[in-house]
Assembly symmetry: C2
Homo-oligomer: 530 residues x 2
């Protein structure tokens, strides 16, 4: 008996098995799973009343809030494809994406009304604009808001789970290449179903979990939470956007057990002045992702929150989780080695197989030294890029998905990301991992954060430049940083130049946008060269 | 990217990620996962060297031992279908089954050489007979034993995971109907893959688990362990057959963390005289299945083993686990209520949806009172019965699999099995649940175990007869038992007759074979009537 693998079944499970339980909390409102499921059904009926065709794209432009969480089920139950837009993008990005996939419906928070109004004349396919909250001067949008529209709909829906095509696209996320146009990542019902089961296992998500949505849902669902946590009947606590104080308040208020952080978020929490005043005893697990963590950071988080902390690795194209830095009982580790391991990339979750290959796609040994591109075969790898058959084919060459990340694998099977393929700096024929240099720099006590990028150089091809943000009231000279690097790095890896900056550009998860920096310094260079 | 859902991937994961770890322990031998995977590959190569055709049936007739565990992967990696035979069946059963599915290869323990020799002239399809251990007087079998045959094979195998058909049958288990011929249950690669993921979640199986194989592997793999535990890289401890002393010794010796029991096994462990002398501190979880448990039994097990204990429900046709008696945080229970809940059927694991229906297949309410047949839609429901299109169609009518078990579902979603459909005794138009009467009787301190069965009766249609086994050195009169029943049951449910017996017939998992008893008493009746 093949029941289609669709995450819609998770919502049905939550409704039937945890219907009376409070499933969703958003500010001062909350909904049982029964109520949440009814609202999702109303949303589906709304879309159907507007003649949504199977696989129509329905875009949401929203902070983390209950309408967006409802969209994860309401849109797909109506047969549509959910397109969550990253709110940090520009109006011209929105325009490109909405036209690229010919989205038909757009739900948006009033904060973005101006952006949408600006691009509206050029939008080719959007027929309905729905405000998530009331807003003036938007007579081009539906006259009723999201909540009002839902109220008018029935919560009865003839769900035909057995008729769902598990290989159909359920969600479309746009991922930004380096200098390319954004590409739409097609995740199928089956991808999302299996990703949920496999991350529930790897992260040990339980029915008793209370998860704080620190990561925006538009980032591959905040790492798959709408699927995994709802399958288990756990509790969601939404958070409009990340602020250390709000995070700590919500943890205390709702006895949060688990949440995800990128390192920059973690640092801001750890540096929050009154951290020690909050009751954080409910926290059992913190997931670190987005970019490389350090053993110090893992240790500090474990001490501050008295919990288990581990790093994960993945990407939009893989739903996203591929590896987790879990222990294996075959290893016996000192405390230091344990923190080291937990800060690393880890090993594949069930359902994922990972290899490293050279430039000719030949498999490299698991010796902890050979550096190759990570390729994967996994239940969670996307169907392909929307309307990009060539890029899709290129990524899947040889039946393995190519991640573009460079790594080693050690004899115990642990992957260690060395760098994004495109972040490797090639200087005088030597490969310099920008990540390695950043890690060495970050261990200097005065440094808050840093980024190392390539600068075109006539003699060396490229040289490394370090962009450094110092902590408040801390000082460090270039010489001091250079000496610090010398103590930790081979001499050819020491940045050729240093620059002190006030901030670094960041993406939706707080990840430093090296792409932006590279672009900026390339144009600098071009200007000064021109 | 659709990677076929096949459990062969779990073995690959164990080989790659836990290759150096001791994965399998059998008596004084042990194998790392690397060694185990190599042996499985050798078995696959052996079968391929004998020109095994895709989907050929390969039968194993064996106690719990390493060759049988290897067969779970070796046979399917060669493209065959594994047919594990229940060693408690008779030679004529073996004959029926092997001919029914036209098995081509038969691997057997020498203890069954006589049985096989007896039926050999009538076997229609078996071309190779392989002894798992050396034995005299079997010149009709291969001259080399299993181990010797494996030694001659290479461990290199060109595994083509991407070419596996996930909907192909991987395992065939014969299940005995009431009076029917045994039926072959076809479990697909996809069934087994998803069953593993879903039970890992529900039972919280971890990499650190050490599982003792108390349940025969020929019973739906000892409840799916070859898949789930190998996916996680846990450790298997094999046990030829169930003896309380051996179980306790192995727990102590290998620091066993988890195992499964049927109630009769649990009772024999709890009654073992020197139980308290064993170090059982490693045990974290006991799964109870096979037949209904009592709250007293759960409490006694939890106290004796200082662990968590829960009941499960399922059947061969569902791979098998469907429900587990886990808590929901929405309930607040006293200790007594907790034991009550843990002894019950529980609620569905992820991937399974359960309903109860009346005789017309109309859904019944979840009121804790309405009794209906359990029907399921689950990832783990078999493809069908081997060569039995009519029985298959009948079981799957209305796109729900019909279990033949009668149950209630309460408003919190908890299922409670009332009885096997065929074990309900209909006396004077009243339905008597044999299970309910057995539970009431079992709470009498002098009773070790009992079975309540229908006896044909000219006035009542049927009446209930209780077959009772008393504990050693314990006494109880029929009147005393009748009074005990009166205190716990409605008067029409009190057995019409009582009989004291020394033992009750049991199946492979120690489950009482009420089918046998019914047959026996029916023929009694016919004889005395004749």
């Amino acid at each position: 008996m093949n029941i289609p693998l669709t995450h819609i079944r998770f919502l049905e499970r939550a409704r039937l098995q945890f219907g009376r339980k409070t499933g969703i909390i958003d500010a001062d409102s909350s909904w049982t799973y029964q109520e949440y499921a009814q609202r999702c059904r109303r949303l589906a009926n709304l879309l159907l009343s507007w003649d949504l065709k199977p696989s129509s794209r329905v875009a949401f432009l929203s902070y983390n809030s209950y309408p967006l969480l409802e969209a994860y089920y309401g849109v797909v139950m109506a047969g549509g494809i959910l397109l969550p837009l990253n709110i940090r993008l520009t109006a011209s990005d929105f325009l490109f994406i909405l036209n690229d996939c010919q989205a038909e419906f757009l739900f948006f928070h009033p904060d973005f009304a101006k952006d949408i109004e600006d691009i509206r004349p050029q939008l080719e396919s959007v027929t309905r604009f729905v405000l998530l909250e009331a807003h003036k001067e938007t007579d081009w949008a539906e006259s009723l808001t999201y909540d009002q529209l839902l109220e008018s709909q029935s919560s009865d829906l003839d769900l035909q789970i057995l008729k769902v095509d598990e290989d159909a696209t359920a969600e479309l996320f746009y991922t930004s290449g380096t200098t390319d146009r954004p590409k739409g990542v097609m995740l199928t019902h089956r991808n999302l179903y299996l990703h949920a089961l496999e991350t529930i296992i790897a992260e040990n998500i339980r029915e008793t979990d209370v998860r704080l949505h620190t990561i925006p849902l538009f980032h591959v669902n905040g790492w798959g939470t709408p699927q995994s946590l709802i399958c288990m009947g756990g509790q969601h606590v939404l958070l409009k956007s990340f602020h250390p104080k709000k995070v700590l308040q919500q943890i205390t208020r709702h006895k949060v057990t688990t949440f995800s952080l990128v390192p920059t978020m973690a640092i801001s929490l750890l540096n929050f002045p009154t951290l020690a005043a909050y009751d954080l005893s409910s926290v059992r697990q913190i997931m670190l992702g987005g970019s490389a963590a350090s053993p110090q950071l893992v240790r500090q988080l474990e001490k501050a929150f008295d919990c288990h902390c581990m790093a994960s690795y993945g990407m939009t194209e893989t739903s996203p989780v591929l590896t987790l830095s879990l222990h294996k009982s075959q290893l016996s580790l000192t405390e230091e080695e344990r923190y080291q391991l937990q800060s690393m990339t880890g090993y594949p979750i069930p359902g994922a197989e990972v290899r490293i290959v050279d430039a000719q796609d030949q498999e490299l040994p698991w010796d902890g030294k050979s550096v190759g591109e990570i390729v994967v075969q996994a239940d969670t790898v996307m169907a392909g890029y929307w309307n990009r058959p060539e890029e899709t084919e290129q990524s899947f060459r040889g039946e393995w998905f190519h991640t573009g990340d460079m790594a080693t694998i050690d004899p115990d099977g642990y992957v260690l990301i060395v760098d994004r393929k495109k972040d490797v700096i090639i200087s005088g024929g030597e490969n310099i991992s920008s990540l390695e240099v950043e890690k060495a720099l970050s261990s200097h006590p005065a440094i808050l954060e840093c980024a190392v990028i390539p600068i075109p150089d006539p003699s060396w091809g490229e040289t490394a430049r370090a962009l450094v943000v110092l902590k408040n009231n801390q000082q460090a000279s270039e010489k001091e940083l250079r000496d610090h690097c010398r103590a930790h790095l081979a001499s050819f890896k020491i940045p050729a130049s240093f620059e002190f900056v006030d901030t670094l550009p960041k993406g939706g998860t707080g990840k430093i946008l090296k792409r932006e920096l590279r672009k900026q310094y390339r144009s600098h260079q071009e200007k000064s060269a021109g």
